[in-house]
């Protein structure tokens, strides 16, 4: 236990922590916490609780919430504690408030005043504490109350305050970019706030400068062009950092300020993207970092990785690309999975610029693909996804589907399914293959893919190759029908897939004469029966039945309805779903019509025909004229009517919002142009069904009852029509689910209301495919795979393989030499206890506990308190020695010139370069660890006082984290 002074803890608290620490199961932990909640509820509202006691209660509340239980009964006490004068108590209160509340909590209003007061405090630590809370709990509404003070604090004498003030502005910017730029008056077109930021970029404290990079990064991400003039500054800062001009306190494992370097590289990547001139300014410094970086440490590799990201983003430079490629190959050949992962990621970035680099690493990539580690595998799939071409699409998509079938994680399954679809749509070598691939995707992830994908598939089958090759088209359809009839045998198919199947069977089931109408209708009835609780599927099945019967009638055959079909119809005629009922009635009517009428309503294979829609309903003109002459009121368009429409519109909107907010605190926002309202499919279906009896009755013109609904659906249809065409063969523009309305599909299927079934846009551009199949060779499987993925020849492959093996071995040796450094992270639990370094004090050892029974625990407790005081006194003494009130002296080991001179101007001063070669960073740490009498005494005492016998209960609690 380090210093305990001030952080007073009662026996009760120690007991609580002890029992939580020793809890063996979640249930036991829950029991402890529940009884703790009872205790706290009783105690916390007692009058006159001493401050320290209260602080402890609040921390106990934090425990309660951290372990997953509600502590809202105590929130108000945490809020009250923020008003306290004592810094420690106040800060604990602030901490608890940030952990308990979100920015929209009602209690926030009670601390706004306190924060404002604290921002003005003379004690800079109080200001910092307040700024911490500002960064977490200030919402759009309260920003104006804080902003002026925060802006003032940007020039506070304490660097810690300046740094936090910048982060507070960063937060404001995130919460409401507009309100910030509004409030900071537009002064000669430069926002004062950002002017301050640029000044802070030149702050002589590296911490402040580093923090400034956070908001700048976000600003630059949004608007690159306004910040191009800063390239030189960033480059110069990065150069100084890399040349070790910063105080050594920022070194991490002998790397100069690596986190700042990484942030700067990220910014440069943005600024140099597509800008040759800006990129040229960066080449030297990035090249320097490539050369200087310590590639044996994790942090060095982190910086190198960031360099690769930067190089692959800025205007390409052959030399830098070469360095990047070297680092990538080292990552990929490493034994560390972490480095392999980074290597694969880096490769997928670089591959855009130099595609040939992938070939050198094909075997390493395949190793990663076949690795049992899921993370690595997924990353590799990401790489493959980026390097897919028409020559390797089959192999890659097959692999992806295999993997998709094996995993259970729905989130990732959705992602990989949509990628398969995207690649298949983009690069499919043949429609046959496309349909087979889609079948697989639908079969295994049907409910996870976007409904549009199903729509596209149906369209493809309906439109065929689009090359006026009718035989090929009908072959395609027959093969689709056959494959679907086969697949129908499988149990539990996804709903979306079943819809596709029903539609295709309805349209083309009997088209080639291979299957009889009764066979197909039987299958469709089976579907409707097997998935009887899925109304959409049933609707599709009924409409498909209607089509089959209509085609039969139209071709002059006599229709005999199967008995199971009749039962189904009877059931549906009485269905609760108006949609199903409607379809069933339609079917009944259609069957009763003569061949000619049926052929007019339901022409065979006409899903691609355009249907002229008379939007103005001109055929009714005569009727209207007649009515008006008879004295009827003329029609008043909706826009000219007042009141009624607006109200219904309003209600709709209201309803949407009510589900997300209970009360609104923020200002009313401007109306959005398009509203993505989710309409329950049932209501949609019913609106659609209204026009059914009369095919010329387009829905758009029949919109009085629910205007917003039909408008919305209409627009999404329009969008979809365009999407479908582009997506099939075009650029990778596939976007995941924007709206999931079922309306479009129902339309297509509902044979009668095929207003916009599938548009016959023939403007499809097709790429010329290299139909070359992956070459099959009599070499190991991996090489085969490599060949099909990378298209390389087998002769050139063998050599890299050998090189790979050798370097693998050598890098293994290299890795081994670093083991001591990272022993902690790799050492398993067992080996850790066995290989425990002798100089480390570990109370888990039985030798310590053996002495404990001899000592009276109460005496020991007193002793503990004593030692703590002594210990803390000693601690403080030692701290005071190195720490005078002025924090700048903390950098006592830094040459004064650096601290005081401007960072940028420091560059010109050659006398400062005395940092390199100083490798003492880890030394002081070492010396602070190890056998320490005071520590051991304290901990020993504590253990006994708590009655913990580490070996039996939970020895891990005492295990040093850093071995």
């Amino acid at each position: 236990m380090g210093s305990q002074g001030g952080f007073y803890q009662s026996k009760e608290f120690l007991d609580l922590v002890k029992s939580i620490g020793e809890a063996r199961s979640k249930a036991e932990e829950d029991r402890i916490v529940l009884s703790e909640i009872e205790t706290l509820k009783r105690r916390i509202s007692e009058p006159d609780i001493p401050k320290r006691k209260m602080k402890e209660y609040i921390i106990r509340l934090v425990y309660v919430e951290m372990l997953g239980h509600d502590a809202s009964f105590g929130y108000i006490h945490a809020v009250k504690m923020t008003h306290d004068d004592s810094l420690l108590v106040k800060r604990t209160g602030y901490l608890a408030v940030t952990l308990f509340l979100n920015e929209d909590h009602d209690l926030i209003i009670l601390i706004v005043n306190t924060i404002q007061k604290d921002l003005k405090s003379d004690n800079y630590l109080v200001v910092c504490a307040a700024l911490n809370v500002v960064c977490k709990l200030i919402n759009e509404e309260t920003i104006p109350a804080m902003l002026p003070q925060v802006v003032e604090l940007l020039v506070h004498p304490k660097e810690a305050v300046r740094k936090k003030a910048i982060m507070a502005l960063h937060r404001f910017y995130h919460k409401s970019p507009s309100s910030v730029s509004h409030l900071v008056s537009n002064f000669r077109k430069v926002h004062i706030m950002w002017l301050h930021l640029f000044q802070r970029l030149c702050d002589n404290d590296p911490g402040v400068m580093g923090a400034t990079l956070c908001p700048l990064f976000d600003l630059i991400t949004k608007d690159v062009n306004s910040y191009k003039d800063l390239v030189i500054s960033f480059v110069s800062i990065l150069k100084q950092v890399a040349e070790r001009r910063l105080p050594k306190a920022y070194d991490y494992h002998q790397m100069p300020a690596p986190f700042i370097q990484i942030k700067l590289l990220k910014i440069l990547a943005l600024l140099g993207s597509g800008d040759k001139q800006a990129s040229e300014d960066m080449y030297t410094v990035v090249g320097d970092i490539f050369r200087k970086c310590d590639s044996s440490s994790n942090i060095g590799n982190a910086v190198l990785y960031e360099c690769i990201c930067c190089v692959s983003s800025i205007y390409p430079n052959p030399k830098l690309l070469e360095s990047a490629a070297d680092v990538i190959s080292r990552f990929l050949k490493s034994d560390s999975h972490n480095l392999k992962y980074m290597g694969i990621d880096a490769l997928s970035r670089l591959i855009k610029i130099s595609p040939e680099i992938a070939e050198q690493h094909q075997l390493a990539v395949i190793d990663c693909l076949e690795d049992p580690d899921d993370t690595l595998k997924r990353k590799t799939f990401e790489l493959l996804y980026k390097m897919t071409k028409s020559t390797n699409v089959e192999v890659i998509v097959d692999r992806m589907i295999d993997y998709m079938i094996r995993i259970n994680d729905n989130h990732y399954k959705t992602e990989i399914a949509s990628r398969c679809v995207e690649l298949a749509e983009q690069f499919a070598p043949s429609n046959q293959w496309f349909i087979q691939t889609m079948n697989k995707v639908f079969e295994h992830a049907g409910d996870l893919v976007n409904i549009k994908v199903a729509h596209n598939l149906m369209r493809l089958i309906a439109e065929g190759f689009g090359e006026d090759d009718d035989t090929a088209d009908s072959q395609l359809r027959s093969s689709a029908v056959e494959s679907y009839l086969r697949i129908l045998g499988e149990p539990k198919l996804p709903s979306v897939f079943l819809r596709v199947i029903c539609w295709v069977l309805g349209e083309y089931g009997t088209a080639d004469g291979k299957f009889s109408a009764s066979y197909i209708t039987g299958k469709l009835c089976d579907v409707a029966e097997a998935y009887s609780n899925d109304e959409t599927v049933k609707a599709y099945a009924v409409t498909a039945l209607m089509k089959i019967y209509a085609f039969e009638i139209a071709s002059g055959k006599k229709v005999d309805m199967l008995p199971e079909c009749q039962t189904l119809m009877e059931e549906l005629l009485a269905s609760h779903s108006t949609d199903l009922q409607q379809r069933a009635y339609e079917l009944q009517v259609v069957i009763g019509l003569d061949a000619h009428a049926v052929d007019c309503i339901m022409p065979s294979d006409a899903s691609c025909e355009d249907i002229e829609v008379d939007k103005g309903l001109s055929f009714l003109d005569g009727y209207i004229q007649e009515s008006i002459e008879k004295g009827a009121q003329p029609y008043i368009p909706e826009s000219e009517r007042s009141g009624i429409l607006n109200i219904s519109n309003f209600r709709n909107q209201d309803h949407n919002e009510a589900s997300s907010h209970s009360l609104r605190f923020e200002a009313y926002e401007l109306p959005k142009p398009t509203m993505q309202s989710r309409i329950p499919p049932a209501s949609l279906a019913s609106t659609e069904l209204v026009p059914v009896p009369e095919p010329m009755y387009p829905r758009e013109s029949y919109q009085t009852p629910v205007p917003s609904v039909s408008l919305d659906a209409g627009s999404s249809e329009l969008k979809l029509r365009l999407d479908g065409v582009q997506k099939k063969w075009g650029r990778p523009t596939y976007s995941p689910a924007t709206s999931t309305s079922n309306s479009t599909l129902q339309k297509t299927v509902n044979g009668i209301t095929q207003v916009d079934g599938a548009s016959t846009s023939n403007s499809r551009t097709r790429e010329t495919y290299d139909s070359r199949k992956p070459q099959i060779e009599i070499s190991p499987e991996k090489q085969k795979l490599a060949a099909s993925l990378f298209g390389g020849s087998s002769k050139t492959e063998k050599r890299p393989a050998a090189v790979h093996k050798i370097s693998k071995a050598s890098s293994h040796v290299m890795e081994k030499s670093h083991v001591p450094k990272y022993s902690m992270e790799v050492a398993s639990e067992k080996t850790a206890s066995v290989q425990q370094p002798p100089d480390l004090l570990d109370l888990g050892e039985p030798t310590v506990t053996s002495t404990s029974p001899l000592v009276d625990p109460f005496k020991q407790l007193e002793g503990l308190l004593d030692t703590t005081q002594v210990a803390s006194a000693v601690n403080h003494g030692s701290i005071a020695a190195i720490e005078s009130p002025d924090m700048m002296t903390l950098y006592a080991d830094t040459p004064a010139a650096i601290r005081n001179s401007d960072l940028l101007s420091g560059l010109s001063n050659p006398s400062i370069i005395n940092m390199p070669g100083d490798t003492t960073t880890t030394q002081p740490m070492q010396s602070s660890k190890g056998p320490n009498l005071k520590d051991s005494l304290e901990r020993d005492a504590l253990v006994r006082q708590m009655g913990v016998t580490p070996s039996s209960q939970n020895p891990n609690l005492f295990k040093d984290l850093l071995g």
Binding site: F7, N132, D373
Partner: protein, 143 residues
């Protein structure tokens, strides 16, 4: 925003510290922690220290009995986060001396204070151990 949350969880899956940089309800946090911990604890030492989970990427590192898990956005430098965890542990070690799970449990607020200095708005803002620990030492002294 790079870092979305920081968790310390022991081998039994019990949370020892949780700090979120975006608001999640108690139930969401509980569910998320359960899922992540199950995922990470099941992994072997040879596997990557990174796991994808929903929209997060989790970078984790184990020290003795304690797992440090950091949830980050997709475009974050994973290796750097891994080293950030190490820096955090080194900082705690400097303050507590041979830091162990129990130190964090007894001084939960101090561990939080250190994080408050190191990370703001989900970005790493301070990496100098002296700067991180100064406020805590001053508070120790003052009270």
């Amino acid at each position: 925003m790079g870092i979305r949350f920081i968790l310390m969880v022991n081998k039994q899956g019990q949370t020892r510290l949780a700090q979120y940089y975006e608001w999640l309800t108690l139930e969401e946090r509980r569910a998320l922690e359960g899922e992540i911990v199950r995922k990470c604890l099941a992994r072997t030492e040879q596997q990557c220290s990174f796991v994808e989970h929903r929209n997060y990427k989790i970078v984790y590192r184990r020290y003795a009995s304690l797992f440090f898990l950091v949830g980050v956005d997709n475009d974050e430098n994973e290796l750097a986060i891994l080293e950030f965890i190490h820096l955090l542990v080194e900082t705690m070690d400097r303050h507590f001396g041979n830091v162990c799970e129990l130190d964090i449990m007894f001084h939960l607020e101090k561990a939080h204070f250190m994080l408050e200095e190191m990370v703001m708005n989900g970005s790493v803002v301070e990496t100098s151990k002296a700067n991180i620990l100064t406020p805590i030492q001053l508070m120790d002294k003052a009270s």
